[in-house]
Symmetry: C2
């Protein structure tokens, strides 16, 4: 029987969508609608090209990915209004962090989103001038009402395990003491990392920064985010990423999975659709171990269309892929419910 | 060093957000911003209450969940502008489907989103008057520029395996023949189900509707979505949900996982954060099997805050939880990239 029922929400929803379209047309922001949803997304042909990039992790993968992403970041803007560059959180030259903030800060202290870059344990940086890397993460944080922090850490072969975890701990300690001066709440810190950075974050959460006299507190850490990381014990061949970092330390001692399983810190994981095989294995192993330990599947995001190198670049310009669940995780764990 | 760099996108992004806020204030839509993102989300205190509901699957869980969700559905509107009710796709009284469409249809044919309800294999319906269930799914589809279809299917104990798969196949066949009259594209059908409905969808994909003379074609099926389903072989105790449906059929014969692993149809799975233990086990088992077969983790959404009963109710009012990745999956698999 043919019927007609006007859904108020449906009718006005379209009006709101059209109004938004006219608003965003006036901005430089990339606002491709997902079928009427107001979420930043890359155009479908760009996602298809991204998805087609060889999943092998290589400089070519990075180059091809950022070649696709960078125009969108340039159009959207990938630089927070205020950046305090190269603040020192420790003695080493790589103990540096950048604080990204708003030019019209909120009246109270806001949560802090810290990003630890990857680079195979031997490279990478928080800031490559003339590229979105990784000021885009600070800009994303500020757009979401947070204070953003991007940090560097010491590298192998000069520094070995657990230097990465120690540096994350040292940076968090510095933030606990200082970030209020920049509008950040020392009691609401979310620590995130991708690739080797995700491993360092996981090691920090697993307590591997605790050494002798030094106890790396997790006070104030309201969540940890590990993008494309590896958590289980595994044997590394000489020359393999991580081999120089882990050295002769037994895999069972450096693996972070047991510590993650016991952690009371809320954890968010991601694996990219086109991630490398080892990272898919790691995510699947995480799921299995989590089910055995907790009886549930962990909070794991499958990052549609993206690869190992592009995942962090999805922020701002392809929010449906990672940014939306990431924002929800941060909000869930830092909101003050009155 | 203190610096200031104006991010064009960041500045205008806030302008766009404020403009949207004034637009949506004029509508009846629930538009809670996730920290500046323009995605429908339940208020945080409501999500917290939802998350606190006992994960045991029961009528009380359903009652408590919909008690929380329904006011938001009522405010947003859960009824598509046009509904063609109780169209017959087969001989049995439960071979009925509702077609949900727009009052201002697109010039061409649009993809079709079909929803198969759950109910423990022995109950459930496509339409419970005076409630959002499950017209909300049709409304969600229309908001996203699709034609929506909600369907009923035959129930145990009167009808046993593989009746559910056969009914999904029959409905799809009817849609292939008729949905163009309603603006839907017979070559771009996405089939979705939750709980027992997810199992029936998985069985259809796995080829279990093929019986003797009847071959259930997957032509035109561009994707399948299984929310809180169970896929692996398992023994059921008498009285357990599914026992009446599966009867004496061997578990190995009725399990859908082997067929899913071999399917060329794009598949999206979900498990709710607060789903029942069996559904978390099923999702973890799916991940393991998928990794062994494909070397990757499958497209699995962890539905934040939700339980077994509330997951489908997240559509429209809590889009970050499921609707966003679901919309992306549909768009990815039905878009015509010119």
């Amino acid at each position: 029987m043919r019927g007609s029922a006007a859904g108020v929400g449906a009718a006005t929803g379209r009006g709101a969508v059209r109004a938004l379209a006219s608003v965003t047309a006036a901005t430089v922001r990339t606002s491709a609608l997902i079928m009427g949803l107001m979420v930043e997304q890359l155009p479908l042909d760009v996602i298809a090209r991204l998805r087609a990039i060889d999943p092998a992790i290589s400089p070519e993968q990075a180059r091809a990915s950022w070649e696709l992403l960078t125009p969108f970041h340039e159009r959207a803007g990938y630089t927070a209004p205020r950046i305090d560059r190269d603040l020192s959180y420790g003695a080493h030259p790589r103990h540096r962090l950048d604080v990204h903030g708003s030019d019209s800060p909120a009246p109270g202290l806001v949560p802090v989103f810290v990003f630890v870059h990857g680079g195979g344990f031997v490279g990478g940086d928080k800031y490559t001038p003339g590229t979105p890397r990784y000021d885009l993460v600070g800009a994303w944080a500020v757009r979401h009402g947070l204070v953003g922090v991007t940090m560097t850490h010491r590298l192998a072969p000069e520094f070995t395990w657990p230097a990465g975890a120690q540096d994350v701990a040292a940076a968090v300690a510095w933030l606990r003491a200082n970030i209020a001066d920049y509008g950040g709440d020392p009691d609401r810190i979310i620590v995130a990392g991708n690739s080797a950075g995700a491993v360092h974050v996981s090691a920090f959460i697993a307590g591997q920064a605790n050494t002798g006299q030094h106890s790396a507190t997790l006070d104030g850490v309201r969540g940890a985010v590990m993008l494309s990381g590896i958590y289980a014990a595994r044997e590394l061949q000489p020359g393999e990423p991580g081999a120089a970092y882990y050295g002769a330390n037994p895999a069972e001692e450096t693996a972070t999975l047991p510590g993650l399983l016991e952690s009371s810190v809320p954890l968010l994981f991601s694996v990219a659709e086109r991630d490398g095989p080892a990272f898919h294995e790691a995510a699947a192993g995480l799921v299995t171990a989590w089910l055995v330990r907790h009886g549930t599947v962990p909070d794991l995001v499958w990052v549609d269309g993206h690869n190992h190198m592009s995942t962090i670049g999805s922020l701002i310009v392809d929010e449906a892929a990672l940014g939306v669940p990431l924002a929800r995780f941060i909000e869930r764990n830092t909101a003050v419910i009155g």
